[in-house]
């Protein structure tokens, strides 16, 4: 995991190396200061040598300033290294996500991907900064201080041999017991957040069913669960401070006692005693730092793991080795195709699909929710790969195409339309970066979008808000159709993408398709029989299988599902819908008006 993450250091290696070097400099100077202080006291103040005091004093001031600059710049560089590292991580994750198939995405869920790219990366960024700075500083400070203490008075410094392991072990034990509790706390927070979030979203349901009291109980149980564990965890962790004070104080008492005797015995000088106190502080303090580092690093370990998971996820749909780069025509073939979303959802979504569609045909697909209509067409641009069997476009299995080439030629207007923040023109240009204004307008005209765009204040330069909230559902659908048309694809798939467009306009769009794009294979998924009844062939889907294929008239005579659908819509809608229009596409006698 570590190696995987560290690959993201890249151009910030310089800062990442410079930081520990500067930290080392800082610590070296810092630990040397008390040592020189001892000599000021013992060689300057005690014998009354002002000259010496001045000389050493100025030297020490210079050293303190040097240590200050080294420390400050190490902080600066470490921040830049860590922020850069985080930036590269985010870049890598995002570029990997873009390569993900939807199986990959389902594996993570999109909200968890967002958390990984924000909170988790921030944690790792802080951990990285800590690693190159504090995690270098703390052990160095410990080692240097002990070394200096030994060089001043080895006999007395032996006390560290006793104190340091005791403190280290105690701190370890504290972390060891507190850490699992903290992990548990986070889990229990999830439950609390779940209750709040379900109550916020479902406030109307809660109020209508008068469930306030029960929900309150649920919440208080979750709240109490947190309290119990969190208090315990914090109590354990809070032992740190008194333990630390205890150790420092005990050491100082011992040093005072021994030091006084040594000074009197002539084995030591007063200044040296003072510096011993300083080193005691540093030694024990650095241990405290170390235990903090361990706690924090182990907390960010989970974040690192979660990031590494995304980075190491292998996109399941990728370009083949020697990809086919051109799609010759809009033929489509399904050869015994079956599909299951994942091992978890065992129900097959598609079963043994066999299908041949000639180039240029207008195909309708109808069937109930969950019958596999959308899944069927999503196999064409390889949004998913068939679990078994073969899908061919233009006579070539889809897996052999370069993804970009395949998707450029198989345009798809999806069920839930997404527009991106930007102008209408920018959104339409998604279909073709190089499209001229004329081409854009032509596409918009076919999609029956030109008219309403012209009425907008800024026309084609009107800004679309995030999520397209400033255009109506029907307008959004027409824009997404125009966007797909700009690609000039060999195959156009419309997945229930005119549901919010009124029937008259919908008919005009279909008309324009027939006249303006006769070569293009058109596959229309709809829930309205009126939308597909004039198709060359209609595919009726049920339970992941093709129930029947045929024209409207054929299906009306032979297919039970189709008849039932027609019956329900005819009774409630079709009659009324078509009564006032001049050309009835589904006259009850089943006349094939348009061919």
């Amino acid at each position: 995991m570590l190696r995987l993450l560290l690959r993201a250091v890249r151009e910030y290696r310089k800062e990442s190396i410079l930081t520990p070097l500067l930290v080392t400099t800082e610590v070296a100077i810092e630990t040397f200061i008390p040592f020189l202080m001892a000599s000021i006291i013992d060689k300057g103040i005690t014998p009354g040598n002002v000259n010496y005091i001045w000389r050493m004093g100025l030297l020490l001031i210079v050293m303190a300033l040097a240590s200050l600059s080294a420390g400050a710049s190490s902080s600066w560089f470490s921040s830049h290294a860590a922020a850069g590292f985080a930036k590269n991580l985010r870049h890598d994750i995002f570029s990997n996500i873009q390569k993900f198939s939807f199986q990959n995405i389902d594996h993570f869920s999109s909200s968890s991907l967002v958390t990984r790219m924000t909170t988790d990366i921030t944690n790792v960024q802080n951990a990285y900064q800590m690693t190159i700075r504090i995690a270098v500083r703390a052990p160095l400070l410990l080692i240097f201080s002990i070394m200096m203490a030994f060089s001043i008075n080895a006999q007395m410094a032996m006390i560290y041999v006793v104190v340091v392991p005791i403190l280290a072990i105690s701190l370890y034990v504290i972390v060891h017991f507190a850490y699992p509790l903290f992990k548990l706390v986070f889990k229990r927070y999830d439950r609390l957040n779940q209750v709040v979030s379900e109550n916020l979203r479902g406030i109307r349901v809660v109020k209508t069913f008068v469930r306030e009291a029960e929900e309150k109980q649920k919440f208080e149980a979750a709240s109490k669960d947190i309290y119990t564990v969190f208090s315990k965890a914090q109590r354990i962790l809070s032992l740190n401070a008194p333990l630390m004070t205890f150790m420092i104080n005990t050491t100082i008492l011992v040093i005072s006692w021994l030091g006084a005797q040594m000074i009197v015995g002539g084995q030591m000088q007063t200044g040296q005693l003072v510096s011993m106190f300083a080193y005691t502080n540093s030694v024990l303090f650095s241990l405290m730092m170390l235990s903090n580092i361990i706690t924090q690093l182990s907390q960010s370990q989970a974040s690192g793991q979660r990031i590494a998971e995304v980075l190491s996820e292998v996109p399941s749909i990728v370009d083949p080795k020697d990809p086919v780069l051109t799609v010759t025509d809009g033929r489509v073939a399904f050869d015994n195709v079956s599909f299951t979303y994942s091992a978890v959802h065992k129900r097959p979504v598609l079963q043994n699909i066999n299908l041949q569609i000639p180039s240029g045909a207008l195909i309708g697909v109808i069937g109930e929710t969950g019958s596999g209509k959308s899944t069927l067409v999503q196999l064409l641009p390889r949004l998913y790969d068939a679990t078994s069997g073969e899908v061919r476009v233009g006579g070539v299995p889809v897996q052999q195409y370069a993804l970009a080439a395949l998707r450029d030629n198989v345009a798809m207007v999806l069920q839930n339309n997404v527009l991106f923040s930007g102008t209408i023109k920018e959104n339409l240009r998604w279909g073709n970066e190089q499209a001229t204004d004329d081409e854009i307008i032509a596409s918009a005209k076919i999609a029956q979008a030109d008219e309403f765009i012209q009425t907008l204040p800024a026309g084609y330069d009107t800004h679309i808000e995030q999520d397209g909230s400033n255009v109506s559902g029907g307008q959004k659908q027409r824009l997404t159709i125009a966007r797909a048309l700009l690609k000039n694809p060999k195959i156009l798939i419309m997945d229930d993408s005119t549901s919010a467009v009124d029937t008259a306009t919908e008919r005009e769009i279909r008309e324009a398709f027939r006249h303006e794009m006769p070569q293009m294979t058109k596959i229309l998924i709809s829930q309205r029989i009126t939308s597909i009844s004039e198709a060359d062939q209609i595919i009726v889907m049920a339970h992941g299988k093709i129930d029947a294929i045929g024209t409207h008239q054929e299906l009306m005579q032979t297919n039970v599902i189709y008849q039932a659908l027609n019956q329900s819509q005819l009774h409630h809608e079709a009659q009324a819908f078509d009564a006032p229009s001049d050309a009835s596409p589904i006259a009850t006698d089943g006349g094939d008006v348009h061919e």
Partner: protein
Amino acid sequence: MNNRPRSFGKKSKGPKDTWATLKRLLKLIFTGHPIPLIVAFISIIVAAISGVAGSLFLQRLVDDYILPLLKLRSHNFSALFGAILVMGGIYYLGVIATLIFTQIMPVLGQRIQRQIRDDLFSHMQTLPVNYFDRNSFGDIMSRYTNDVDTLMQLISQSLPQFISSLFNIVFVVVGMLSLSPLLTLVSLVIFGLSIGVVRFLSNRSSKYFQAQQKSLGALNGFIEESLNGLKVIKVFSHEPQTQQRFDAYNEGLREDAARANGFATMLFPIMGNIGNLLYVLVALVGGILAVNQISGLTLGAIAAFLQLSRNFSQPISQISQQLNAIIIALAGAERIFQLQDEPEETDQGQVVLVRAIKGADGILAAAPEGQIWAWKYPDPKQPLIELRGRVVFDHVNFSYDGQKQVLHDINLVVAPGQKVALVGSTGAGKTTITNMLTRFYEIDSGTITYDGINIQDIRKASLRQSLGMVLQETNLFTDTVANNIRFGNLTATDAQVHAAADLANATTFIDHLPQGFETQITNGGSSLSQGERQLLSIARAAVADPPVMILDEATSSIDTKTERLVQAGMDNLMRDRTTFAIAHRLSTIFNADLILVIEQGQIIERGNHESLMAKKGAYYELYTGKKALE
């Protein structure tokens, strides 16, 4: 020297009225737990005194014991031993004091956190629906997470550390003054310098942290947009362009984060080394003073002063750090108080629903075992009224803000068991009309009666109990399928739950789930299709068995056949019930007894399907698709 730049990171907005919030918060903390707080406070002071006394001891050690002993021939250490024992006493008193307050405060923080959280939730449940419409989900949610969290940090960490640092500085200064006023002056100059440095650095870093939050928000928005639109990105092979835009946001965030953290973390080495500088200056100045015998500075005093000066810089950086944390926490506290101050949903209703039995004479009498529901006035002389579901709107007007009228003069009489379909474009006011009946919002003028009783006189809980609702958003809860259905009626037996599922046409799909009725629903039922979720919410309403139903139909994405399943479930639900259906698909309204066409808050047409078609008005246009329904 703890590297905690994050505490600066949240400094986005300061509280609006710092002092009022602080006062209220302290009152809240103090009144609930006065004794542990006083104990903790005393312990903090004792610990601080013990620390300073320890440093001052050094002076006595050197001046009173070591130096005199040096001059003596016979080395008698018993006096020294006594002094060390005394010192040990003071030291360990400090340790115990530290132990006490570090154990009290975090637990106190937890307890207060829990109390605030529970208060918050139970208060939230009493708020009117319009509060939830006015405030975004994330905004309310963050009060439970970020705000409560920072508040707990404040109580368990920032506050004790702040107080402890404050006393430390005071006692250190007092200790210093007792040793040497002149050296104290030198220290105070350095002290001033450090405060300047701290302020400069924290201003700088907080400026960039704000920028960082903004960049992070922008990046976040972009990631979400891209993930939502990933299919579109893939279908259009737009990956490189998207990556490019992402990189631009990403680089912006990096710059801000690097600067913000840079300034923030710089504080620690700078403060630490200013401490070193002070240390050196004390030695230098003190040494010269001592050697020249100015102001009677002893060697022991210098040693003690050196030790004290080491304890000087740390509390200063602590204070600045904790001050930031306190300001953030106060902003959070203010937001929590804001929610707690939101006025509760008012309820003057006195009429309640009770179970009753009908006597042979047709007169109702309250009886807990009764099978019928009846309205009961507080006045025992008033007869019980049987719950039937007759709803009348009489000249009802409504506005959200008292200015822009949303409903105009709505008049409506619905007999028990009648089906009403509300038709009209988005924002016409269909949902608003049903919100009047549930009293999610209060009408401005006019009256609404239910079984002849003004709904203002009915206790809200009873009113809502008599209404069922199936909404577009199904809002399932994390629990089993059976318990989700039981949400409608907690006392429902398994048999009743199954019957409700049957009525809703939901049994077939439930039986296909891995554990049937015991299958756990997670994530609001994300593993179910929308139609399936809808069936569950119908079953949930069915098990409650209210006489009046409000149905808000799904706008799309249920195809005709599943819709017929849902429709059949709804039909079963509507049978013998007064029903208000917000119809999005025209097939639904075909069977309605009364169709209301709503436009701009007014009923512009009313009648049944045949009469409205014959009229060739607005309904006719909607129905024939001349105007699209959205």
